[in-house]
Each structure stands twice: as C-alpha cells, then as structure tokens.
C-alpha cells in the first residue's frame, strides 16, 4: 500500500490558499482564458497542483503571459507552453496531441478560428478529467 503516514486531507487548506486576493484574481483570469467556470477550475487545480505551486500561481501566470509561446500563433492561442510548463494543468503529451490535431484541421482547410475553438474545447475536457 503506498499511503503516506499521518496523511491529512489537504483540500480545505488548498482552498484557503486560493481564496486570498491575488490568487483569486489569478484563478479568475485563467478561467476566463480557458473559458470555463471559476469553481470548476479551482477544483481541477486543487486536485492537480501541489500546495507550493498553488502559492506561486500568480507569478507563474505573470511570467507565462510574458514569456510563453513566443512566435507561434496557434500554440499561443491554445496556450501550449502556458498550460504545460508554466502552469502544469495538462501533461505535455496531451497538449502535443491537441496541438497536432488543431494544426492538421487547419491544414485540411478548416477556418483557423473554428479549429482553435475545437482545440480549446479539448483542453477544457482534459483539464477537468
């Protein structure tokens, strides 16, 4: 059995971290970017990220805005690096497959906007999974 000794339910504490002024603002911004409800994103974050990443959410988001996905339009729209390396909500393989699929759709003649909308839809699903 791989259970830690003295384990405690961390969810209330993680929630406390996310409710401070700046974190709350950041969570809202990320939810807006992803186009999903705040509460759902909060739930996904509490499940996926550890406590120190949650504390650091704000500066990672800031740096992500500045440095992530320079140059590549589609990747920038989807937030490829932003949501894998800066704020690891998805693993790299899933993101790569979403990106590949979106670029194929664009090459097959689908309008760029539509393809990105579909890509985002898949990202939302992957985050909540």
């Amino acid at each position: 059995m791989t259970r830690y000794l003295y384990e405690k339910d961390l969810r209330p504490m993680k929630y406390t971290i996310l409710t401070s002024t700046k974190h709350d603002r950041t969570v809202r911004a990320i939810a807006h970017r992803l186009g999903m409800a705040d509460a759902k994103l909060r739930m996904a974050m509490i499940r996926r990220l550890d406590m120190s990443l949650l504390e650091n959410l704000e500066s990672r988001w800031e740096m992500g805005q500045k440095h992530a996905d320079g140059g590549d339009g589609v990747a920038g729209e989807l937030g490829c690096e932003l949501f894998t390396r800066f704020i690891p909500l998805l693993d790299t393989e899933t993101m790569q497959s979403i990106y590949d699929e979106t670029t194929t759709m664009i090459q097959n003649g689908l309008a760029v906007d539509d393809a990105i909308t579909r890509g985002r839809e898949r990202i939302r699903k992957a985050v909540l999974r």
Binding site: Y6, K8, P12, M13, T16
Partner: protein, 151 residues
C-alpha cells in the same frame, strides 16, 4: 533513595536533549532558539544538545500558535517523546497567540489545550539567555528523582 536513582539523576542533569517544534509562528523565536547554539551562549557546556529529534528528546520547545495542520500532529509528537519529558513554551505565541489571536485568524492558541506545558518564556521573541535559563531551571525540577516521584 536508591543508588540507581542517584546514577540516573547524575546522568540526566548533564545530558538534556532538546527538540523544538514550530507550530505556526513568525520564526522569530525559532532563530532565537538557534542562536542559543552559538558559541557565545554555548548551550552545550550545560550538557544540553539541540537535536530536533522527538524520539530521543527530553525537552520539547514549542514555538508558535497552533495552525490547522498541527492540531492533531502536536499530540503525536508529544506522545513519541520518551518519559521523562517536559514541554517549554517559547514566546508569546504558544501562551496567548500573540498578534495572531485576532479576528480572521487560522490559528487556535493556546498550546496548553493540546499538550501539558511545564514552563513558559514570554517575550516576542525572548532573548536566547532567557530560553537557556528556562531550560536549565525547569529540567532538574522534573527529572530529579523522577522514578521515585512516580506513584
């Protein structure tokens, strides 16, 4: 007074192992406990060894007002310390919660609600010399003739 007790008294008076546990403080008191290690105060000349391992400690220094994670774990740590043992509260935090005992806080002072405290050193933070003298004066009181005092 048995000979065995005499030997135990002699040994215990010169060998006090200290563990400190921070249960949610500003760590101002932490570093004052650490400063006791400095050659200037030289805590080891009294036979005190700061070890930070509850399983072989005699004295537990408790620092800070109790945060949610510690509510159950503090008792765990206290139970792990072998007898005879004594807990000393360092700073205002374990006594009253210091500045943290206000509306909106997450802490639940005092520490006395969780484990028995034998002595307190008030101050925010207390000086290293005060911490030192508290340990030195409370340890013999508890440890001397410990077995004979047992009912």
């Amino acid at each position: 007074m048995s000979i065995l007790q005499d030997i135990k008294n002699a040994v215990r008076s010169r060998s006090i192992h200290v563990a400190y546990v921070d249960v949610g403080s500003c760590n101002g008191c932490d570093i004052e406990v650490l400063a006791c290690l400095a050659p200037r105060y030289d805590i080891e000349q009294y036979g005190i060894y700061v070890h930070n391992n509850p399983r072989e400690a005699d004295v537990l220094l408790v620092i800070g007002s109790v945060t949610p994670q510690w509510v159950d774990k503090l008792r765990d740590i206290w139970d792990k310390i072998p007898e005879p043992k004594v807990a000393v509260a360092i700073g205002n935090c374990p006594i009253s919660g210091c500045v943290y005992a206000r509306r909106g806080t997450l802490t639940t002072p005092p520490v006395e609600n969780y484990i028995p405290i034998a002595a307190s050193v008030p101050g925010c933070p207390p000086r290293p010399t005060e911490i030192l003298s508290a340990i030195l004066s409370v340890a013999p009181l508890i440890f001397k003739d410990y077995e004979e005092k047992q009912p």
